[in-house]
């Protein structure tokens, strides 16, 4: 009974949200119609759908390009960011060398580096991935390093008293301990990766949703721009939820607060 009513309440909440959104769309549609708003300024929802549908044959390619830039950049950021975080945590020398550079780079608006990168690496998939990776990289390094260092002092005492090798402590204790930190940074990173990929495509690309957006803007196809925006949001949200699902898969214990141990 109780569970049932909770379920019903959730369902009602979803319906309310859906109704509200529908209402907004209807008002939008009617307003455009009523005041005769020119479609290059603000197209009606129906028109957005129709005109986006018209270019459906080219959309998959551009979507796939942007998607691979986002995912590629994200993966590059992980495979470079995590090892650097580990180096920074384990080596005092590297920490002294890398950390100041990281902090300096951190203060540079990364998307502003996109033109430079394009200059060096040229047009194409790879440089755009690089921009996405660059933007996604910093939260991963910093959070992972924090996570690796957040390990309980007494837990370290315990592993030391067992004369455990550093590598073993890393694999069996530190790394799993830092996973919740890593995943919270990945959720930020995937969102940033989408931004990075789009900005890179704005600056130099001949395909991708960002490129399509730019050309549609040039052609005053405002409704197509709106359609692409919707697609981009869907892309971002989908990626975000994939990361959330991975988090649940890899650190299921994190769902409940980790520090329950501290309570009496």
């Amino acid at each position: 009974m109780n569970m049932n009513s909770a379920w019903v309440r959730t369902a009602i909440e979803y319906v309310q949200t859906a109704l509200a959104l529908t209402a907004v769309l209807v008002v939008w549609e009617l307003a455009c119609d009523f005041w005769n708003v020119p479609s290059w300024l603000l197209p009606a929802p129906s028109r957005i759908v129709a005109e986006t549908w018209e270019i459906r044959s080219i959309l998959p390619l551009h979507f796939a390009v942007t998607f691979s830039e986002v995912v590629g950049g994200f993966l590059i950021a992980i495979v470079t960011g995590v090892p650097i975080a580990i180096l920074v945590v384990y080596s005092n020398l590297l920490r002294r060398i890398i950390y100041p550079v990281l902090l300096m780079l951190q203060s540079v608006p990364k998307v502003a580096l996109a033109p430079l990168l394009l200059l060096w690496v040229g047009y194409g998939l790879l440089p755009n991935m690089a921009v996405a990776a660059l933007v996604a990289f910093f939260p991963i390094v910093i959070n992972t390093a924090t996570g690796l260092e957040s390990i309980d002092r007494e837990l370290l005492d315990l592993t030391n008293s067992l004369e455990s090798g550093k590598l073993k402590v890393f694999w069996k204790v530190r790394l799993p301990w830092s996973l919740p930190y890593l995943f919270s940074s990945l959720k930020v990173a995937i969102t940033l990766s989408v931004i990075g990929a789009i900005v890179a495509e704005f600056i130099g690309a001949d395909r991708g949703l960002g490129y399509l957006m730019l050309t549609s803007s040039g052609a005053m196809k405002t409704s197509v721009m709106f359609g692409i925006l919707v697609l981009l949001s869907a892309l971002g949200i989908a990626c975000f939820y994939v990361v959330c699902a991975a988090e649940r898969l890899f650190c299921p214990w994190y769902m409940a607060p980790v520090d329950t141990q501290a309570q009496g």
């Binding site: 315990l158 008293s161 004369e163 073993k168 141990q261 501290a262």
Partner: protein, 271 residues
Amino acid sequence: MLAIAEKSLRVNANQPLLRIEQVSKHFGKRAGGEVVALKSVTLDVERDQFVSLVGPSGCGKTTLMKLIGGLIPASDGKVWLDGQHVSRSSRTIGMVFQRAILLPWRSVLDNVLFPIEMLGWSTRDYRDEAMRLIELVGLRGFENARPNELSGGMQQRVSICRALVYDPQILLMDEPFGALDAMTREDLSMELLRIWTEKKKTIIFVTHSIPEAVLLSDRVVVMTARPGRVVEDVKIDLPRPRTMDTESLPQFSAYVSAIRKMISQKPKAAS
């Protein structure tokens, strides 16, 4: 105790299991100079004894524990364990802290087996022992539960199993019940006595609670702060086995108030 005599005949007949000789520990220089955590501490612990360390915070109890565990080196003096000079950590020591610090991603059983893995031993060989320990602390049926499904008291029981699984000679317990509520604390104290009798371990137990120390121990070592020193070593001559009823004995209260006086009367070292 007879058991003590027997066992010590076997190894190093005339030596206590743990000997701490004139041990001092200073910590890094700050503006004002060094912080002296321990000053010339001398202490012997016989095999299978239950010894408590009590004293105000900052008296170096935890530092002493770490020295015994070989986690930090002494600045001066020597620590001998079973006739051997303790220079670094050794697996003859099991540790229990105030917080259980279990690994949240591991089941109870895997948490208990954690030290075996870290020592590079075969967990299969120790599975049965781990299960016996889990049963001994009354957690049978919970071996596959995750730490966050357990109460604080249950978590601390798991951490006691974890400290015992590789059969260390000495159990170092640093305020193990400090984070628990009074009821759980009493339960666990009684359980610890039961484990101690069953497993024949030497236990060094740090606590803030004088009644707890008196109730559990063969000896209560009283320390003072700044610098950390041992000021008194009280032999507790109460009958065993002890139960919560032991607390109602007149000698019990006599011990408690005597020790309380020792702690409060000592002047704060010349400062």
